[in-house]
Symmetry: C2
């Protein structure tokens, strides 16, 4: 298996790539192509779709890691686990050290607003950031397997170059990048945003199986409650690429202060 | 199925209980017992262990929901999905409305510091909070199936009473509560804390199967990098119950400001 930094003579950056749609998804191919020439690329991605896996890890059963041939000239491994498992295994067993950057995606479908929390794509990026590896998760607002990644590739490269050039900004730097659907020409630029307050209004689709027993499909409508013009949802609606810096400290500091004042035990 | 608020004559609060260790785990029984008499309890919990599932949701296949008999006099459902699925299904299909509070746990094992992000227990609580349902996730620092939940039950009840009595503090109130292992007498009290900066140093245990093919078990050592005395790890080490208010807005606002200043596209 590759030995990350040690085997790279010209000190070119090591770029770890993963995703949640699986190693054979068109989106990860687009991401590999978009950063060609920026460093030594290693791919460790799930061997099957892992959408909606959030920050799940595999603890109840063992993981498999298989060398596969998917991208021309790029060392690639398919992992039986979740996107977060892929990052952990890549660092410990494939690279045997930290890459210079970890990229995840390009996801087929949006990961703006509350989606960040359900997204395997973003959880992989966040896992890297926990490991002090700068990371970016990319998502295109197009679920189709035939999605056009031209614009996404262009902006992915611009952002990777920015992060590689400014690593000192934050050792846990992690960006949630969403790219509008459509032709490259419609995109007006890049906006640094906050996560919009939005959620899904669930309505499970209840059905009966051939034996008369009920089962449910998760469905739901996306509802944006956030009127702010500094949000990712606003930026995307107005044809900007949205960039939300994210963190893994979930402490609600404002509420902490309130509780300290109001609660006496 | 139960009709949440409509069917409760005395306007007693509706208490939804879930967990990630599964509906038959001793920890959820302890939680049910601890809040008896505080409201109408409904349990919707996974039909099997779902530890480490984080905020995973089930989108690729349908979900089952089965009425089961586990707790005396408590309407209980086992769900084939993740802890987050349980909350979504409970609200949409079991309660057909929002409970007054959602409780998750009591988890067999710690969910302090970075564990919050991998934890099915806490993801269920966070999901409720996204739905504007006040929520608390409880975890006991004892992985054993024979763990003593006496102290955990006592403090769970105290905290549930506090939240039910002060719902106006924040409509997305979500608490990550950890309880030290050991006798009730050793606990010094309750501390409001922030999430410690700590992580796992992974070391996958690589083995060969009987056919000579490699597989990996996720293992790792917990390392606390945080010297603060206001963290959950500090509180627990000093025999306090730790209470960390958590949120689902992952935006890193300080980094957002830095990027806005430093990055020009």
């Amino acid at each position: 298996m590759a030995k990350a930094k040690k085997s790279t003579k010209k000190k070119q950056p090591v770029i770890l790539i993963t995703n949640d749609d699986g190693v054979t998804a068109p989106g990860i191919r687009a991401l590999v192509e978009s950063v060609k020439g920026l460093g030594k690329i290693i791919v460790v991605a799930p061997d099957k779709p892992q959408s909606g896996m959030g920050h799940a890890i595999t603890i109840g059963h063992p993981l498999r890691l298989q060398k596969v041939s998917v991208f021309d000239g790029v060392e690639t491994y398919a992992c039986s686990g979740t996107p977060v498992d892929c990052v952990k295994l890549a660092v410990d067993k494939v690279l045997k050290g930290k890459p210079d950057i970890c990229l995840s995606g390009i996801n087929h479908g949006a990961n703006h607003s509350i989606n960040v929390i359900y997204s395997g794509t973003m959880s992989a990026a966040l896992e890297a950031s926990i490991e002090s590896i700068p990371s970016i998760g990319f998502s295109l607002l197009d679920l189709s397997i035939e999605a056009d990644f031209t614009a996404a590739k262009k902006y992915a490269r611009i952002l990777v170059e920015h992060v590689l050039g400014s690593k000192s900004l934050d050792k846990h730097l992690c960006l949630n990048v969403n790219i509008p659907k459509g032709e490259e020409g419609i995109i007006k630029g890049i906006r640094i945003c906050r996560q919009a307050y939005a959620k899904y209004e669930e309505e499970f689709d209840g059905r009966k199986d051939p034996h008369g027993r009920q089962y449910f499909w998760l469905t739901g409508a996306f509802v944006n409650f956030d009127k702010g013009k500094d949000t990712d949802v606003w930026a995307l609606k107005n044809n900007y690429v949205s960039v939300v810096p994210v963190q893994f400290d979930l402490t609600h500091y404002a509420l902490k202060k309130k509780l300290e004042t109001n609660w006496k035990f």
